[in-house]
Symmetry: D3
Subunit: 272 residues, 6 copies
């Protein structure tokens, strides 16, 4: 069960409105790596976590924080939209700066949201449940979490350079910091999973005898770039400590023809 306090985790006050930036900032709300994603990803991971204790508690702490991040950025978007020139017709535009705003705003923030944030990204695409990952395997999921926080911090960093507003920048400095912490936390949790003997560096940590061992260490060179054999992935010991990489410079197909079986009667699939 959850509780809510009306104060924001961190202040979200722009110095002045900026409807063009409000459109861009939607990426951090409803984008594939926005705050709705990490909120739902961590909530479902926490709810589906099979071990009581430190890992589940870690997940639920961060999940709960993330709901507040959606709130913080939605509040910022609403404030950036204050007084947006959404009823200015193109014909009335006399200034290039206004033209950029009138041409670039997301009209749905006005028509649908009445000047409020929407659960969409910076291109207006709605958030959807396929953005999240919650498999129950903590190694696989924590790696997805590191990846999500990395893309999140990257997008935040890009957005940081697209504004001069000190209020917006202050909030983004907080977001950058939280993305730094969260990357570090998931990285630490990945190390801990291995130290606790719960998972290994290849996820999931099983079926190594059953998998096709001849093909568990080879790099297939299938493009014609000349330097793929010059990285540590082409020779030497693999990160899992189990395999030695091998570079196949000119690999041949191992299977037979990619043919399809005879069709069923009455399927009207063309055949002789």
């Amino acid at each position: 069960m959850f509780r809510h306090t009306s104060d924001l985790q961190f202040e979200a006050k722009p110095e002045k409105p900026d409807a063009l930036y409000a459109m861009k900032l939607q990426e951090l709300i409803g984008g594939a790596f926005g705050e709705m994603t990490v909120t739902m990803q961590y909530l479902f991971q926490g709810w589906n976590c099979r071990m009581e204790g430190k890992y589940k508690d870690l997940i639920m702490d961060i999940a709960t924080e993330e709901i507040g991040h959606v709130e913080m950025i939605a509040t910022m978007v609403g404030r950036l939209l204050e007084g947006a020139p959404d009823d200015v017709t193109a014909e009335a535009v006399k200034e290039p700066a206004v033209a950029a705003v009138v041409g670039g705003m997301n009209p749905q923030q006005a028509i649908v949201g009445g000047g409020g944030a929407l659960p969409v990204d910076s291109a207006g695409t709605p958030w959807n449940g396929k953005y999240i990952v919650a498999s129950g395997n903590l190694m696989a999921d924590f790696r997805a979490n590191v990846a999500a926080e990395s893309q999140g911090r990257l997008q935040t960093a890009r957005l940081y350079h697209m504004t001069d507003d000190p209020g917006v920048k202050a909030m983004l400095q907080f977001n950058l910091a939280r993305d730094t912490v969260h990357q570090n936390e998931w990285l630490a949790a990945i190390e801990q999973l291995q130290e606790d003997g719960l998972e290994g560096p290849v996820a999931p940590d099983d079926l190594f005898e059953e998998e096709n061992q001849a093909h568990a260490r080879t790099h297939w060179h299938l493009s014609d770039g000349g330097e793929a054999d010059q990285g540590p992935w082409a020779s030497g010991q693999a990160p899992d400590g189990r395999h030695s990489f091998e570079y196949m410079a000119d690999p041949a197909a191992l299977g037979g023809k990619a043919s399809a079986p005879a069709p069923r009667p009455h399927q009207y699939v063309t055949s002789r």
Copy 2:
């Protein structure tokens, strides 16, 4: 530019058809972490890669291999669907084993695909472009690649236990092996990025002075589980070597009220 050979990378012949399993195996074609995803993810990463050389060559080699994985699994699905009882009416079903198949098949594989594989997952949801990540930041992207191969191997391992067919198991043993190699390769590439001084453990490797430093190391305890302070993420040095974790046992909101600004005239937003 690409070229194609008609032979499969590895054999994909089931001992006998199994329409129920054909539905499940679609997850590895059109699922969020299926072969269409890694194909498109690596292709776009390769095309958008800004450095000629070993990283780009690595990406393009694996990307090209993945197109062949879609082919391999699509061929297997087509063969598993051979003679599928898609025109058996429920009333005609006299055996529980047949009932399970008739009730569980994906009807679109027959009605739409004529007994062939579809670009959808095991629930029939179509693949979409939001499944892929190609940001141009190799650290952020390689982490997404490790995560994708981890989820992919996990799903393959689960599917491995859902069949007794030796032909299917042989193909999945190959897939498991390739997912092992690819996890190792992306992990090796992540290490190499750092050794080459291109990226650090926090992605992107910048803005550490600008980010809000007071909040770049704290864990906010916002759920009431008792053990989140017992992991390495709560104290000690963070994986980035820059920060020392700090556990905030009872953190207070730092921002003001989450209020929205006064609405525009003519937006008909309710207010006084």
Copy 3:
């Protein structure tokens, strides 16, 4: 079965083209509360209606009118796009008013639609079947209809203020009027359902004995705003005439720990 007449239900002639507005007006075609939604929502409600007679006839009359509304607005969009400057390159733009149009147009109306309306909303998102509601329960569905017409009139009102074109305004004045009528009609139908003894104020009108009666009247105060107890929802008789509201100022969780069960063997879900 349907028949069509080539005349529009109401005139849809702009005084002059306006490609920027044509993009915005798409919201009323393919938006979540646009005319495609009410068309399909009322059609499916009518087809699935289980009682011959006045309710079904009401639904089918309005459904049939709505198809003509899609036609009317699609025609308007096509006319607003006449001569749109879709082949003007950015470099060639010398006027701010033109810049706003060139930057703000929906390129798909030109590239995909050849200057015609598309089944998308003002952000270019395609209409989809999840926008509609047709449950067979007329109370629940008529409430959804009131809600849809309310959002529809609201969006129309917002769009009304975004144009000065007398032809567009005339058509929108007609649309506003129809949304007024339709709101009134569905509200009247809701009252009638209750007068006819078919449904009560809580939908569906059953299971009042079975539902957990201790929790069928309480407001759980879970945010920290101070005034939620000052509305009629916090005390006094509820609109259904069955319950007395009760305000729980500091409610406690009633359930046990939100734990997940032990995983299956071979699912590779992390656990001890």
Copy 4:
């Protein structure tokens, strides 16, 4: 900002697992009217609400409760999936009861979720942001809330009859009760909005002079059912107290031909 307690709002313990029902219950998590929808709908409405005070506090209280409903049902789904026969091959099925389960389960709950709940509905379709409504106009939005709680209670009632499990029924009895309260609360809030003079029965409460008054009261009879004139929507005073309904038995189109304008050069639109 939010906080979380590990106890569920209400107990969610099935007497025994039931993988087929776990698939159906997903409707209440990720369906168009499931708990994810009301959670996000109310959160965005609260964040975008322009008036501090009782309405915003009401919204945020219920929004916060709804996050806990997602948790409660996700926990139930996870427990219903315990020991699900997801690795039983069709061939091995000897009992009709098992056949129904093996054929009917959602394979993604196993393959993707590892036996946990997913952010999808009972057909496996992912939740998306277009399911929610937050326009800033409280009348329009509260009507959408009444509609959502009505569909939600209706679906819960249907699901209540699809199980015999006393633990599941106990939780659904709680959900039914909360849906009853929430319907009553939003209905009360709608009355209050009018009593407070903030909104009228037609939303939004404006543009009545501007709208086309000749068409703001007429029912267009466009289907051939014989009884649409026998309801209160065909004559007498409309619910808004402003208009008198009028039934048009054989209405004629008022507009001109639905023609499209001449195409642009180089659009290659077929014309003479």
Copy 5:
């Protein structure tokens, strides 16, 4: 503007209910080539048609017929769902025939639709606006129409073999016939477009001087199958009467390296 008559274009009465088939038949309502698609495709083509006269009249006649096809099949689906065993628990299933139905039904037809048709396909995926094509170029669009009616008749033919119900078969015999007529009509219209001198066999009928003429007749042999040179596409005159096909047995790439440009500062794209 449209009018509706309550009688169906053709009878849609199953001899008896069949919930499993009701799920499959959804493909013809909300599938990519179902009746909702041809309805909306032809309506938008008609509304966007730039020439008054026979082509537009043809399109609008067929478009209007198609709305009635959605109605006809939706009615059939509702009747097939009569008395569907949607509240039978798996445990209660004693017969394989019932198991197939209980496992195979679409639960949303019960939970969401109350036993009515939904705007989704046979896998439960909602219909969406991207299924339709209306470009304004009649040659390109009529070809899409032939293709849609071909897929539609193919799916209808497949569904025809999946039922023994004489009532269902009678309706499908009507649908097959209409799909035959409509294929013939669009084919005739394609010939007429050319006879009228409006479009040629390559769409659009222009830019033949501008296009790269060296590459407007060559087949690039990029797979290793041995017989692609044995069809009429490899040599001889092309269907447009303008070009002679040429088979390139071992074509070489013509462009330079597929490299990406240097990144912008502050995009944090990995580069040296």
Copy 6:
């Protein structure tokens, strides 16, 4: 299995960057008729093709070429985005030409893609698997291929007129040429299917005895345009050589009332 060469099929070098055009050109990558669609459409058709030989070889040759088209256009988009003014704030805009770019760019190409191409269309909508057709019936599928190449060439032609850049125009001249060839090839293959006796002009080539013959030749005149009887579809022999068209000037509905059956108990569908 596939192989890749680093050289592009054809050069893709703009004379200078153009971020506005880069957004538009996305239509040819991730649009419904973009290169991702034809790539996946032909690949799945080839993999599901049931006849070894010339048809399958034709399909796989073109499929493999299309992967290289995605690469070519993605490379072009990346180069058009070089130095895009994505961090220019609206306020800083002093020139109308810059305003058009700043307002019109796709922000996701910067925020998400780091200046690279995305798997989306010109409105930012992600590519999805429902865009493709692979039914196993070659006549139906080749018609879909002709339609796809027609829409593709049409969109390319429109885009050709939206730029003055000689490098972009050169690449589009190549694309136009390939779309010409591919249209010709699929048209030739359609003729060949008939010459080989594999399929007839109505797809699928069967069930002509079973289909309702009275309705397999009639045009239902359901709109009120006056000229639908003046085309070759209204009388004379149909293209299939089997039927004579007949024009029904005032057709009557043939079926009974479109009524829905009595609801199930406990579905709470409104009825008496």
